[in-house]
């Protein structure tokens, strides 16, 4: 009786100890969602809202990478190509049919999912470097084909592309009737992307998530434990492609008439860089990646009139910094570094070479960005400081 009672109490306290952070987390997420859904649209201008729509879309794409690389350890350098495929399919379907938007989202996601699984098939045999290369090559091939067939603009045939689109035939991908305005479409996008994140969380917390973790740590061990490698690897590609396809459909309706210049070639590099900088092992990192990839260029170009190409330098240096000293990305490392800085200032820990250079590295990145934005006439100062960041990171390792 007593034992059962103790067990019961232990069980309840375990339940509480699990639930308290969970409740806190849910509250934080609910708070952020409330700000994103209600505060942003009522306080920010149209250009900001459009940017935040892109942030949500690219966060979802980055979340696909979190599934593939962070959870299963399979790298894909072709996610932007999958996004472009999703956008193309959504545009093509919207010319052919009058599907209601939620159905269009699902159908686009499903078709992209099939294509993504096909691209993911080599992952059954290849890993690491070779998988990265084959996805890069597949993305390159998709780019060549897309540059040729272009996005549908009301023509006939399979590609629905014509060189002389009639003005009556040129219709934009329709947004959902309830969310035609920019603010409403922004809210719609945030909710759909939130659902995609939820889908990923549900996967992580259930059987596929455990199987993926086993595969990531050791394939032979996972196989020995009875994990179906083929099924779960392809499942990860299916999930990531579905999420990316849905994001592509949202992108198609956001821009209305998508074009190849919505997908510049260096975006595939920027995506993997920002995803790793943000933090590839958690979905929070995916949100940071979306912010880096879409909000920063907007801030640089439209708000601060700084050449947005400097961001490529920042992303490159940030990527090196993260690879060298912060595998968990900013979302993991930044709080640790700041806490270390605090302890160093309070003299609670001795100043080692490693700690000093580690903190100098992340500070150089931040100070460099600030210098780029403030010293507009001499950007070279900011660039030099930014480039010092990975050098410091390298010195902190050696």
């Amino acid at each position: 009786m007593d034992a059962a009672h103790a067990q019961d109490r232990a069980g309840r306290s375990r339940l509480r100890s699990i639930n308290r952070p969970l409740i806190a987390r849910v509250l934080v997420i609910a708070g952020l969602l409330a700000v994103a859904l209600f505060v942003f649209p009522s306080t920010l201008g149209a250009d900001w809202i459009n940017t935040f729509t892109s942030v949500a879309i690219y966060s979802t794409v980055a979340a696909g990478l979190v599934v593939l690389y962070g959870r299963v350890g399979m790298i894909s350098l072709g996610q932007i190509a999958i996004l472009a495929i999703g956008t193309w399919i959504a545009t093509r379907l919207s010319f052919e049919t009058n599907l209601p938007f939620p159905v269009l989202l699902l159908v686009t996601g499903a078709i992209t999912c099939v294509i993504g699984v096909l691209i993911g098939l080599p992952a059954l045999r290849l890993s690491g470097l070779y998988l990265a290369l084959i996805t890069l090559m597949a993305a390159g091939a998709v780019n060549v084909v897309l540059a040729q067939i272009q996005f549908p603009n009301g023509g006939g045939g399979f590609t629905a592309r014509t060189d002389n689109p009639s003005l009556s035939g040129l219709k934009a991908v329709p947004r959902p009737s309830a969310a035609a305005g920019d603010n409403a479409y922004y809210r719609y996008t945030v909710i759909v992307c939130g659902l995609m994140f939820l889908l990923a969380v549900v996967h992580f917390a259930s059987k596929p998530g455990r199987a993926w973790a086993a595969i990531r740590e050791s394939e032979p061990a996972a196989l020995a434990a009875g994990v179906n490698l083929t099924l779960y690897k392809l499942w990860a590609f299916a999930l990531a492609s579905f999420m990316t396809g849905v994001a592509g459909c949202l992108l198609a309706a956001q821009v209305g008439t998508p074009n190849t210049y919505n997908f510049p070639t260096q975006d595939s590099l920027s995506l993997i860089a920002t995803a790793l900088i943000g933090g590839i092992f958690t979905l929070w990192g995916a949100i940071v990646a979306g912010v880096f990839m879409q909000l920063l260029p907007f801030l640089f170009q439209a708000q601060w009139t700084v050449n947005p190409n400097f961001l490529l330098v920042v992303f490159g240096c940030g990527l090196l910094q993260v690879l060298l000293s912060a595998p968990g990305g900013l979302i993991d490392q930044f709080p640790k570094d700041m806490a270390n800085l605090g302890r160093l200032i309070a003299r609670k820990i001795p100043l080692t070479r490693q700690a000093a250079f580690g903190i100098a590295s992340i500070l150089a990145l931040l100070v460099g960005i600030v210098l780029l934005v403030t010293l507009k006439s001499t950007p070279i100062v900011g660039i030099v400081v930014v480039i010092l960041s990975p050098v410091f990171a390298s010195l902190s390792q050696d």
């Binding site: 045999r125 390159g140 050791s218 860089a273 990527l319």
Partner: protein, 309 residues
Amino acid sequence: MSSVVAFSVLGVDWEFLKPYIVLGLALGGVYALSGTGIVVLYKATGVLNLAFGAVGAAGALIAYWMVNHTSWPHWLAYTACVAFGGVVNLVYGVVFGPVFARRDALVKMMGTLALALILLGLMAWRAPAGGAFVRVLTLPSSTHYYTVFGARVNLTQILALAFAIALTLVTTLFLRYTALGTAYRAIANDREITATLGVPVRRVEASAWLGSGLVCGAAGLLLADLYTSLDYTALTFLVISSLAAALIGRLESLWLTLFGGLLVGFVQSILTPYASVTAYRAATPFVLSIIALLWMGRRRVVVFAPATR
């Protein structure tokens, strides 16, 4: 384009394709050249350099600037391009090579991706592309024309092919018969043991970075000329065509890399006259790479490797 109907009963009309073959081999020579640079660096350091194209493009832009905006002799500009490739690669290799040395090949490759991003950003800042402004960098050798098998080729194209074959030969002999070459092969086998045997591993690796960087600058210069316009984005991503060559060589064999480079150039070029596929011929390196990668992975079922660190 009535002559496009080139298929005869026995197969392809090779007479008609001759000029395209010659041009394809010239381009393939540059792919092979870059491919050799990539393979040697990969063998010596385990780094698959994706910044190869970006470094070459940046060097070519510097040469372009020196030719058009200074009164310095042109040979100095071309030397600067090649030297720039060597210096950038050497600095990257010395600063970041040792800290990446024990990491996974994938992580090493990501590091060079970062270098490519940095160079892309700097090039977009100093030499913005777009508009009606097109940069053209013509080497002096491009004004000498010869007729080979009915195709009009210039000296640059011949030099590209000759240089590729010469580099493959010299590198093979170098790896086989010199002390430094032996050190490369030893490091490729086992870096730690090589270090224990007293080989100055870091200096040997630095020399590999320098050598591959010089090839990189030369390839950038040749490609900037062969591709009619100096578009740094295109040049940066042309590394992919060279990767196809390196992958056909299984990142190992220099002669297969040479063959791979020529094959990519050849296939891409002979597709030009066929109207139905000509627009898609740029996909050749990707398709060939995918085939090569699938072939390399055909026997692997379970990967006995630790998680990527």
